[in-house]
Amino acid sequence: MSTTYDQLRVLYRTVLLFATVGLVILAIGVIQFAYFEPFGQSTGLTARIVGVHVYNSDSGKVEGPDRSEFPRDVEFAAVVDWSSLPDNVVVDARWYDNFGTVRGQVGPGTPASLADKTIVPVLVPEGYHFILPGRYTLVVERLQQDRAVEVLARRFVRVDR
């Protein structure tokens, strides 16, 4: 019986040891989250996204009304009003697709330097014929030391299959 209990105790202690390693992994995860999502970064600033429209890649201009849904064979772009932001911050605007990949970007730079880059198009991935379907997220971000630390505006768009 004592041998049996000892063997069980080894199993018990082993699983506790593995759990300790598990806790270390989860703690690293918390630190990683805190590093990329630092607390106390809110400045209260808000950027203005004027709208998301059909994009004409030949002319480089947007056309039509503000929309939240597009077919996959129609290119689209967001219009960002940089003038709503002060000039002492570094910002950019990015489109993320369903997989979290950046599919279009303007910036980074100060709002004044981006004043003539108000249109942020979604790019068709290289080698593809259409925009990939799914949910797209446009974020206007404030950067600090090349790292996005705050979202100043956000907009979601659906691309149909």
């Binding site: 063997q7 699983v15 759990a19 995860g29 989250f33 990329f36 705050e150 979202v151």
Partner: protein
């Protein structure tokens, strides 16, 4: 008639266990119903409808499982009838669930044919996984009915349980966090915590309701891995149809679905969900044999922590692993799985090997003790054969070569009954069961009866 004494007459654990199981089951049902209604009302998406209409399939599986459990706890005369009823209900539930998925989730994107093909190609690999996982227990294999119930729960109930929680977490995170590594880390925590809790609930229910078939750490690993394989089966179909729908207009939908199949059903078959949930099973299996409540709770919590950590590590850090676009991509992808998930699977295998040895040594001890009683169920010369999986196989193969397939299965039945008896004795000695002593005597009689059949053949 006087009732035979129980192994542990002082045990008050059985009613408490059943109440705990009932409470857990009620909580799961409430969570499922609430989740489905909320999905339908607020999400207004195809998955919301799937979730709501899928409740019927979940109810069928749950009711079928209840009847299945009753079949083995009640009058043996009713067993066959109850088994057929349970099989029909669970079968209908699975079919209905697949149908609902086809119709509501994938028809608009990939089409029912693609969903059916994806399900069909995932079936052989998942079945292979289940066969391997069941065979891991070299000394005392789990009954197929419970392994399949575990897989069905993983595929249907566990996947349904996470829909609302994950949708809510994902939606909140996407509205609040900076896209990129921070958001990815949050979503990795989401998958680790919610998916492992939903799969772990099934392991706990099996432990609470079917404790006679839940012997130790090895059984826990087998059931946990089976639940993980079931979950992986449905998740694979979901991802394959999704990528097919996305990439089909570009002309490589089939290739994208095939790559997903390889990642999830070949490369990740044992590394992913099966490993994570097997850790929960290992924790519960160790808890089953521990003497005091504090240690039991700690072991179960430890199993959950390892499972969540393993799942989190993969989801959070797989994308950080460098994978380029050269020909080395194939090597890199395999290395990524080996480096990130390999240590967890290796740690699980260590627990499994130790558990098998521990179980084997104790079974041998009980076989010797039973042989010493000279009651005829186990003969002294049989101990060495019964204690070794290879010797047992050799004995069965000898029966096969001498007297054919029927003899093989009869010897197999005899060996199983003898090991059942040794297992019963082991748990009784450790005061881990509350079934009456009569059960042990019945097992002994069954062994003697089977021995007559084998001898007569």
């Amino acid at each position: 008639m006087v009732a035979p004494p129980a192994a542990n007459p002082q045990s008050r654990l059985r009613p408490a266990r059943y109440w705990t199981a009932l409470t857990l089951a009620v909580l799961i049902v409430v969570a499922l119903v609430t989740s489905s209604i909320l999905n339908y009302v607020y999400l207004d998406t195809i998955s919301g409808r799937t979730s709501l209409y899928g409740l019927l399939a979940v109810a069928l599986v749950a009711f079928g499982t209840f009847i299945l459990v009753r079949a083995y706890n009640r009058d043996p005369a009713m067993r066959r009838k109850n088994l057929i009823r349970a099989a029909v209900l669970i079968g209908l539930g699975v079919l209905l669930w697949l149908l609902i998925i086809d119709v509501f989730l994938f028809t608009q994107s990939a089409g029912p044919l693609v969903a059916a093909v994806c399900a069909l190609v995932c079936l052989p690999t998942t079945a292979f996984g289940l066969v391997v996982v069941r065979r891991l227990d070299r000394n005392h294999k789990e009954p197929w009915r419970l392994v399949l119930v575990a897989a069905a729960w993983g595929a249907i109930v566990a996947t349904s349980l996470v829909v609302w929680g994950e949708t809510l977490w994902q939606s909140t995170a996407q509205h609040a966090l900076v896209p990129g590594p921070g958001l990815d880390t949050s979503l990795a925590f989401m998958a680790g915590i919610l998916e492992e809790l939903s799969k772990g609930a099934a392991v706990l229910l099996l432990f609470l309701v079917m404790r006679n078939e839940f012997d130790d750490v090895v059984d826990g690993i087998v059931y946990g891995a089976a639940i993980g394989l079931g979950f992986n089966f449905l998740e694979s179909i979901s991802y394959m149809t999704n990528v097919y729908a996305i990439f089909a207009p570009e002309g490589f939908g089939t290739a994208a679905a095939a790559i997903q199949w390889y990642f999830r059903q070949v490369l990740g078959l044992f590394f992913g969900h099966a490993t994570y949930t097997a850790f929960i099973g290992a924790g519960v299996g160790i808890a089953r044999q521990l003497p005091n409540m504090r240690q039991k709770v700690l072991a179960i919590v430890a199993g959950f922590v390892v499972a969540i950590a393993g799942h989190f590590a993969w989801d959070a850090w797989a994308a950080l692993f460098p994978v380029d676009t050269t020909v080395f991509v194939i090597v890199e992808i395999h290395l990524r799985t080996l480096i990130l998930s390999g240590p967890f699977t290796a740690a699980l295998l260590a627990l499994l090997i130790f558990g098998i040895r521990y179980e084997g040594q104790n079974l041998r001890d009980q076989l010797q003790k039973e042989a010493a009683t000279a009651q005829g169920a186990i003969l002294p010369e049989e101990v060495a054969v019964l204690a070794s999986p290879w010797q047992r196989l050799k004995q069965r193969l000898q029966a096969l070569s001498r007297q054919g397939v029927r003899a093989y299965f009869r010897v197999s039945q005899l060996q199983t009954a003898q090991l059942d008896l040794a297992m019963e004795r082991w748990h009784r000695e450790r005061k881990e069961i509350d079934t009456p002593l009569e059960a042990e005597q019945k097992l002994r009689e069954r062994v003697i009866q089977l021995r007559h059949w084998v001898a007569a053949a």
